[in-house]
Symmetry: none
DNA sequence: GATGAATGAGGCTTCATTCAT
DNA sequence: TATGAATGAAGCCTCATTCAT
């Protein structure tokens, strides 16, 4: 067994990611995924119980790949809260940019959380809920740390800032999806500077 | 003719909005829309050429209803840039909250811009592109106005701030969709205060 | 509406009966039924929820057509118990013979009661249980009547005789299915004479 | 080679019998048989050319097991025709009762004779034809013997009685399949007594 | 001989759309 | 104009069978 069960699964997932990104969940036909993965139609079902199951696997793959991991480690680094916040932003934007070719998956995932079969819906919603909570938690901690260090003002609400930042990052990519010329990296940088200024105690 | 052609169209659109919100585009069957609108299946086709056409009409209806109109008028009001920014945020959040029951439509619209039939995709993308551009334009103008009035610092990039704000607003509702307890209004308010602080020349 | 919903249903059922008889449940494809009924593939589903549902409808149709109705009326006629028993047998055999071209349906129904999807299985088993009970009941009554009239001996068990007679009639057709030359009518007549002799008090 | 080819074949056949009885021919998947036999899926094909071939092997196994053999020997015993007829019935019922757990196979076999692939169908039909002929032949001989001995009346048709008896035995088990409380043994006994009375010259 | 991963033909079913009324 | 019966294209999924190991 040269190729492990897991490697084969990943091979299918990556093919599926491409096709789902191109055609959406409903627009995708299993045959195309199989063809793209270079396997037979039936083979997919040796690894995934159904189209929905495969789609969810793609979701999990995407979440892992999209650099959330990096987020944690960066937040844990040394340095000022501001610099870590900026580093986190830069890292995130960079890893998302790398996956821009399958970005439309995100929109499909969102839609799946809204209206796929009720079973899938709950699964997606729950996963997103967790993901956002965790992500907001990391950013909020970072801000809280900045407050404790006396770097940020104490009257800000870390959770609100975190939620809005996380959302802004997300939404910049959404806008970049609609507009070729839109540069989410620079935009994020410019914006974060203002936010950090707004958070900070001293202004130069 | 007691009911005009347009009234009937709207009746269908509103029925469709409900069903599309509940089941998504692909999950929706024309028969259910017809049933919900209290008309025959075939009748829909007297008013809309196809399911996609109807879906796009729902999209246009949603965009109009979702208070973008208010945005323009508020931005045009008098008062400080900061206060207008805050008023705009409040108004926007309020009108979105009113449509929370069909919020999932937005996710379907995003998905449609990513992967529906290529013709529809372009139409949605283009519409979103315009909508975001216009929205960002309004906010950017407001910020530029603040700079010119000497209220905001001159080294900020109004376009970046506008894009991020617009995105944050969007994304707060997305997070609210995933989490019952999430309060997008308060979050937006808290966040906007920090951003305004970051933008402003003087701090109280 | 020249053709009522029910007429159309029957048209489909009769087409289905032919095909199911020819190919069995699993061997039958819906497309062939549709073709045979002269309608489109999808149309069947306007009248029957599924292949299984249609098959069960064929079952009910068969049970009704196969002359069980006549049984009741004959058993209720006047005359000696013996003559009624013989008349019943003759009538039954005759109406079964008329349906000999779709006789193999019966074997499919039996098989369905044994091993189709568990939901169908129970439905078929229950229906057969009822049908046999009712049929045995009629014959047993007739025999009991013969005992009461002093025509038959009082030490026979009417239920046992009824069950065996009903079974024998069934099984004669089964044997006729396997063998072209087998004549179930004459066989039944010859046999019933012996049974009646066995039941009767006086022998000529 | 501790286990001979034939022993392995039987092991597979018995596993197959169970699964076919539970799920029917079409409802059975080869994988489950393999699993039940404790072997690999591919291994079945080392012993049987196809699913149908295996099914036919199960049929032959069933026919052998179901005590037809005993029939012959009992019919050949000494004693009155009546007593041999009763002994035959008792023996048959007893051995069928022992196989009641796989009784539903019989219904599958019947169905196979009606509607499996035309090649299989002919094979099953032919086998059933032979089996019934042989069985009827044995019973008819016994009755003919009774006539010759002066035990039974000479105006009965041995072939008809044999066919009906054979059928009744079959059909009592069918009815027992549909109804838990149905007792085929007692029913057969009660019935046969009447038939024997009907056949006999003198009545006590 | 034994295995089980891979396959793809094939069938049920759905549903947008049409069109005769 | 309104309808809903009829349609058939299209896709998910199953599973008997094969064959490389």
């Amino acid at each position: 067994m040269v190729i492990s069960k897991n490697e084969k699964k990943n091979q299918i997932i990556e093919a599926a990611a491409q096709i789902f990104a191109k055609n959406g969940f409903s627009g995708t036909i299993m045959a195309e995924i199989a063809h793209c993965a270079g396997i037979g139609k039936g083979t997919i079902y040796e690894y995934f119980k159904s189209k929905e199951e495969l789609f969810f696997a793609v979701f999990e793959w995407y979440m892992k790949e999209s650099g959330a991991a990096a987020t944690v480690s960066i937040a844990a680094l040394g340095g000022s809260a501001s610099s870590r916040l900026m580093a986190l932003s830069e890292s995130l934007m960079a890893s998302w940019l790398e996956m821009m070719d399958v970005y439309s998956l995100v929109m499909e995932f969102w839609a799946a959380s809204a209206s796929s079969s009720s079973q899938m819906r709950e699964r997606f919603k729950e996963a997103f809920r967790r993901a956002y909570q965790e992500f907001r938690g990391i950013v909020a901690s970072l801000i809280r740390d900045g407050i404790e260090r006396g770097e940020f003002q104490s009257d800000v609400n870390p959770e609100s800032i975190a939620a809005a930042l996380v959302g802004a990052w997300d939404a910049l990519f959404l806008q970049a999806w609609f507009e070729e010329n839109f540069d989410p990296l620079t935009t994020a940088r410019n914006f974060l500077e203002v936010v950090i200024k707004g958070l900070s105690k001293n202004r130069s």
